[in-house]
Amino acid sequence: MRDVAVVAFSQRQEAMINTESEVEFMVPLMNEAKDAVGLTQQEMGFTCSGSSDFLAGQAFSFVMTIDGTGPVPPISESHVEQDGAWALYEAWVKLQCGDIDTAFVYSYGKSSPGSLRDVLATQMDPYYVAPLWPDAFAIEAMAARQMLDQGVVSEQQLAEIASRSRAHAASNPHAVRTAPKSVDEILAEDYAMAPLRPSDLPASSDGGAVIVLAADDKARELCDRPAWIRGIDHRSDAHTLGVRDLTTSMSARIAAEKAGIGNDKIDIAELHAPFSSSEAVLTKALGLGGDTVINPSGGAQAAHTMMASGLIRIGEAAQRISCGDADRAVATAASGPCLQQNLVAVLEGE
């Protein structure tokens, strides 16, 4: 495989962005990333984006946003109705074809206009499950209970995850839930969706992110310390909850293996885990140990920007490599109920 690296990253996440349209808040992020590498949109070999019509409440919502890239003259471009991490994967595949050296990736989402909990119910089996409108928190809560029942995790451990997310988020200007809370304080919270407490749930946010990828020497030319994507892979589990083991993640495990996570030390992991319980699942599936700092940004729990959270995990991991804080990192992205789909990227500095 060709060496491809993250060479620029920009992001914005806020609890609510209601004074700017999607394209209005994405344009500055797009230009920030382009300026960082000194390339115009037309100089990018490929452009790929991710977003969701259901989230926007509008069909073809991405058509408005492409204008932000300045696609005049035309650009080579595509769009996935998935988290931007999959747009990045598509761009990475394009770079592997060998005829382009750079790619521009962005994704965005506003959850605040609707009710994400309810909107996500429309992702479920449309005949048997969606008509009951189980909200997204309820589904995860049932998975969490199964984990507790089987002794895979304890409520204490869930609270530790939630507390650490808040502590890490305190130093992340893009996180929206940054107030520290101790494990005991969290354990004292009333259940929101038993056995999950408010601090176990994601803090919903609006926002987006942009990543520029470059291959080989082009990456070295554009960035002092590129974050090389040593492996990237994505897998799906079954959708039917009744046939899945919700206490673990086969898809994340396989994707991590294929991405070459291996046994070498991983300095940091940015996991797309909206819930404390989903982080516990991913940590186990990826075999992450005590010497890895999990979610130094606070993770998707501290700011969950639907459609961009996965891409932001990759950006956060890359940024820590580029600034020299980490040499080897793993980032994940997820989609569907209870982490049905997982993408895993392994990144390294040189």
Partner: protein, 385 residues
């Protein structure tokens, strides 16, 4: 590092119709199973699935690849979901091709679909928008002014669009999967069908269809081992541009021309009209055939309508048969429509197009567009490597 070669091993479709009688998963599985069967593959042979469809609002299922992954053999495997408006079926096939050209996968299933009957197109495509005023009546109301400008620019005879409509409906009679089968349809009936979005008549528009189209793609190694004809992919291209800016060429958008230039250059095609044996182009409104003939470089600017008038685009004696399958005018499951164009182009060079086979077709083009005529996807396929 060069690109790996990729080829089409199998194409599978459902019978396009107003309502597919089964479940969504059942519809996709029917197309996928047909494609697997032609390619001699089974679910276990597939490395990844690339799915495309237009807005989720059609079926009211958000990101339906999540629900459908397990129906398409994707447990433990990768599945992606592409959405580039009307061009999506074509873009999806391009993304799937990249999976092989990059060397990431050996065998990929790609599938485009829409089940419009679950809701209705007018609702799904024209959701209410606060503060705005809507005088548009769906896509027809949007494209009619562009067609009017083309007619003014070229001074084409008024009934060229009707000729295209009749030709595609006649072509559809030879395609068992086509939605519209109108054996009795006459030119007079097309001309006299009601004006909907003047200058677009009812008979010059596409139907609302349910359906799915799947394609199995393989690497050179997989294709070489395949016992049966394959379609070698000679080029893929995608281009996008803004739908609105001053001085935009709406009749032949720059993105359309750039997409065609790119794909034909990859395929080493110099004389497009001479070297291409069959074209499956995205013509949801009849006048788009002459418009695309010009934009894609098969005709000089302003001359595309003459090809229609001369019968050059008919399978019956034309030198550049266009939409031998009946095209979008005869079947339009939106998210699949582009994939059908790509799949039908492949079937032509595989010699498997059945009663709508162009004799001896060696090189064919699949084409799709979407949005405000701003998203484009194309591929060129050939019988020979």
């Amino acid at each position: 590092m060069g690109k790996e070669r990729a080829a089409v091993l199998g194409v599978g479709q459902t019978k396009y119709d107003t309502t597919y009688p089964g479940s969504m998963a059942g519809m996709l599985r029917e197309a996928a199973t047909n494609a697997l069967e032609m390619s001699g593959k089974c679910w276990d042979d597939i490395d990844a699935v690339i799915m495309g469809k237009a807005p989720d609002f059609f079926e009211g299922v958000m990101m339906p690849e999540v629900y459908l992954a397990e129906a398409l053999g994707c447990v433990g495997k990768p599945i992606m979901r592409v959405h580039t408006a009307g061009s999506v079926g074509g873009s999806t096939a391009c993304v799937a091709t990249s999976m092989i050209q990059s060397g990431v996968h050996e065998t990929v299933l790609t599938i485009g679909w829409e089940k419009q009957s679950e809701s209705n197109a007018m609702w799904a495509l024209s959701l209410p928008q606060p503060f705005a005023t809507s005088v548009n009546a769906g896509a027809g109301g949007y494209f009619s002014p562009i067609i009017r400008r083309y007619m003014m620019m070229t001074e084409a005879p008024e009934l060229i669009g009707c000729m295209v409509a009749l030709k595609d409906r006649k072509h559809a009679l030879n395609n068992p999967y086509a939605h519209l089968h109108q054996p009795e349809l006459t030119f007079e009936q097309v001309v006299e069908s009601p004006m909907l979005w003047d200058p677009i008549r009812y008979s010059e528009t596409c139907p609302s269809s349910d359906g799915a189209c799947a394609i199995v793609l393989g690497s050179e190694k997989v294709a070489e081992a395949h016992d049966g004809p394959v379609a070698w992919i000679k080029g893929i291209a995608m281009r996008s541009e803004s739908g609105s800016f001053a001085g935009r060429n709406m009749v032949s958008p720059a993105a359309s021309e750039a997409c065609a230039d790119d794909v034909f250059a990859q395929a080493g095609i110099h004389d497009r009209r001479k070297e291409i044996d069959a074209v499956e182009m995205y013509v949801p409104f009849s006048w788009y055939e002459p418009m695309w003939l010009e934009s894609l470089g098969f005709a000089e600017k302003g001359q595309g309508w003459k090809m229609v008038e001369e019968g050059a685009t008919s399978i019956d004696g034309g030198d550049l048969p266009v939409n031998c399958s009946g095209g979008v005018l005869s079947s339009n499951p939106i998210g699949a429509s582009g994939m059908i164009r790509f799949g039908e182009a492949a079937l032509q060079v595989m010699g498997l197009a059945g009663d709508h086979q162009v004799d001896g077709a060696k090189t064919a083009v699949g084409h799709a567009y979407g949005g405000a005529a701003q998203y484009y996807a194309m591929w060129v396929v050939g019988a020979d490597k």
